[in-house]
């Protein structure tokens, strides 16, 4: 009888060992969770942009330009409004486009000259790739842009789609006049266009 009981105890002990194997299987499911976390880890490498906020000031350290910004709309003939020519140091932003930092192309205009004086963008043609443009906004943030491209182009060939067309990220266009001044037309023959892209905020 004792022998049988011993055998039974031995069998029960063996059964208890099999329970430990079950725990190991549960532990083996852990790698799955790490795989899941790996799958969830892809960085948000999408486009970075700021929410809409009215721009208040532009600063371009390289050319020493600094101005408050006034809103600009469209004239009756659907051309873009410009700051008053008798205030050549005043820059403005096009309010029918994204605000600076927002997804899409934001537009800031300034005179090269006016009232026989140099304007806010008199030295805009000196800008080069990598130069910095800062735009302060009403929400307290400052949108930092880096110049990606500068071009001088005849007004007759103004690249409307390139300037105002959709962009993948938050971008900025600085526009002024350039080239020769046509005395008869009282207008410059070219435009200087600076293309810049938003530098992702650190925070």
């Amino acid at each position: 009888m004792r022998k049988w009981l011993g055998v039974a105890v031995l069998v029960c002990a063996l059964t208890g060992c099999s329970g430990g194997q079950g725990e190991e299987q549960a532990g083996q499911s852990q790698p799955l969770s790490t795989v899941q976390s790996d799958a969830a880890s892809p960085a948000a490498n999408g486009t970075t942009a700021l929410p809409a906020s009215t721009p208040t000031e532009i600063s371009i350290p390289k050319i020493g330009a600094r101005s408050s910004l006034i809103p600009l709309g469209l004239n009756a003939d659907q051309t873009i409004q410009v700051p008053p020519v008798d205030q050549p140091m005043q820059a403005g932003w096009y309010d029918k486009a994204p605000t600076p930092g927002e997804l899409g192309p934001s537009i800031i205009l300034g005179h090269v000259d006016g009232n026989k004086k140099p304007g806010i963008f008199f030295r805009l043609k000196e800008m080069a790739v990598g130069d910095e443009v800062l735009v302060s906004r009403q929400d307290g943030r400052t949108a930092q842009f880096k110049v990606t491209h500068v071009e001088q182009i005849a007004k007759r060939e103004f690249p409307t789609d390139k300037v105002y067309g959709d962009t993948q990220g938050a971008e900025l266009r600085l526009i002024t006049c350039g080239g020769q001044f046509d005395q008869a037309a009282h207008s410059y023959k070219d435009n200087i266009i600076v293309y810049a892209a938003l530098v992702p905020p650190v925070s």
Binding site: L14, S29, A39, K116
Partner: protein, 124 residues
């Protein structure tokens, strides 16, 4: 006594068989994963077994990637033509041109007048 012990032995034997069967099954089912304990094969084999729960966990990462488009792209009204952002540094040039033209006209008129006056004087 012997009969009792025999019956008890049979009962215990049956118990051992009943208890031993799951052990044998458990050993069989747990043995295959044991030799393939390398991490790579483990994931491959366990992934199908966990499929019912995996789809939900695999879908989750795609949800955040689908969220970024949420920042709505602001619309833009494209203006017509090129901006006129220059008044010209020589704004008075047109006035100077008019003065030059006026001056030339004045000289021509004055010259013609003086010629006419001399002719009239000679005739008289």
């Amino acid at each position: 006594m012997r009969i009792r012990s025999t019956v008890a032995g049979l009962v215990l034997g049956a118990g051992v068989l009943v208890l031993g069967a799951p052990i044998a099954l458990a050993d069989n089912s747990s043995q295959p994963p044991a030799p393939t304990a390398s991490p790579a094969s483990e994931r491959q084999r366990q992934a199908p077994a966990a499929q019912p729960s995996e789809p939900s966990s695999r879908v989750r990462p795609t949800v955040p990637t689908a969220v970024p488009p949420a920042p709505q792209r602001p619309s833009i009204v494209k203006p017509v033509g090129a901006p006129e952002t220059g008044g010209g540094m020589q704004d008075s040039s047109s006035g100077a041109g008019a003065l030059v033209i006026g001056g030339i006209a004045l000289v021509v008129v004055a010259g013609g007048g003086s010629v006419a006056y001399r002719r009239l004087r000679k005739q008289s």
